[in-house]
Amino acid sequence: MKDFEYFIPKNLDELFEILKILGKNKKFLAGGTDLLVRLKDNLIKEDNIVDIKNLYELNGIKEKEDEIEIGSLTTFTEIIESDLLNKYSPLLIEAVKRIGSPQIRNKGTIGGNICNASPAGDSIPPLFCLDAKLFLLSGKESRTVNIEDFFIGPGKTILRDDEILAKIIIKKMKDNEYGFFNKLGQRNALTIAIASSCTKIIKTNGKVDDIKISLGSVAPTVVRAKNVEDRIKNLSQYKKDEILKICNELEKDINPITDVRGSREYRIEVSKYLIFESLNYLLNIRG
């Protein structure tokens, strides 16, 4: 493993002092489940590692009226075991349960998953559906951005050199909101998605009032399937043929690549099926 300088700030003041000095030449260490693999493969060019685990401000899951705040250092296991999130955000739980393995979920953090900005980050599609906002903090100021505006490309975000992701704020799911997450990988555990999808609908009297569909691993970032969403919203009846036709138009929303896990063509076909499976589960499809 390459040699690096290791920093472990005791508080936020110390962190921002360090960030001021290091500028671009640093990598954050949260859970490290991705960073360590990349350090071993010599893919990290930065010379400084900033371990943020001592910053207690970045921990914890809190209830705030109709929202829930999740500290960026919250591990996936803590999310799965949270009564609050099980009650108000089962969609996030379903997705997080599919991440890595017990060992990875015990160490990996939601903040790390977001900031890695992988199009295959499994916690991201549900956060798109839950209207997540990200609270970014620097020494001077803070700002809150919608998660959909955070990603620029694979591994690229709008996070500035002097900033840190402090917490994730999601809306509680209401009684008339239903969600579904599905993911296709090569096996069940420890698999990076070939494609994944997350759908949330708001239903009134059996009719879809609002729908959000997000997909992972089929574009440079996680994306919304806005074209499909609009078409579903305009339906008065949920017939199988019609839904299948809409799912077949998913190509307008996604732009996958061919890589070791699957070809572009395969990903497109699989994504259509993932979306159909979700809609079939969430809507009372007839015919």
């Binding site: 290791y6 489940t33 393995s101 017990p102 060992q103 160490k107 420890l190």
Partner: protein, 160 residues
């Protein structure tokens, strides 16, 4: 090489040491302490051969930097029991659960951690607990059977 002072508890023994910042817990256990019970498989967090228990949770020791262990309580396969094998280990032998044995330490750590939290796990819980541990020889069935066997032994002992 940058070094850092760390203090932690390993198998009930307090250790203070000065270590390079860029080595993993796995490297430290095997190469500095000669505790070779913890195995190195993929070294990417995918096979689980290097599983240890830290503060009551299983983690891949290949994905933990030494500076991160400061203040932690670590248990490796060597620390499961002082003299004899544990009842779980005996059940695994009884059942012929392992062939080459390379995954054994990691499997045993994952299962030990499960049984310390859930006394009578069901099939789904047993399978989930070892979902991060790869076995290429026996195909998991005998490993799962030995956990069931272990649970039976425990309840029989209780009845006596």
């Amino acid at each position: 090489m940058k070094k850092i002072k760390v203090n932690f508890i390993l198998n009930d023994t307090e250790i203070t040491d000065e270590v390079p910042v860029n080595i993993t817990l796995l490297e430290y256990l095997r190469e500095y302490l000669n505790l070779t019970g913890t195995k190195e498989g993929c070294s990417k967090g995918e096979c689980g051969a290097c599983t240890v228990i830290i503060d009551g949770n299983t983690i891949n020791s290949c994905l933990m930097l030494m500076p991160e262990v400061n203040g932690k309580k670590i248990q490796t396969i060597e620390g499961l029991s002082k003299d004899d094998l544990t009842t779980l280990q005996k059940s695994l032998i009884e059942e012929g659960a392992f062939q080459c044995g390379f995954c054994a330490s990691g499997m045993i750590m994952s299962l030990t951690n499960l049984l310390s939290k859930i006394k009578n796990p069901d099939l789904i819980e047993i399978r989930e607990s070892i979902s991060g541990n790869l076995c290429r020889c026996t195909g998991y069935k005998k490993i799962i059977d030995s956990v069931k066997n272990y649970i039976n032994i425990l309840s029989e002992n209780k009845m006596k």
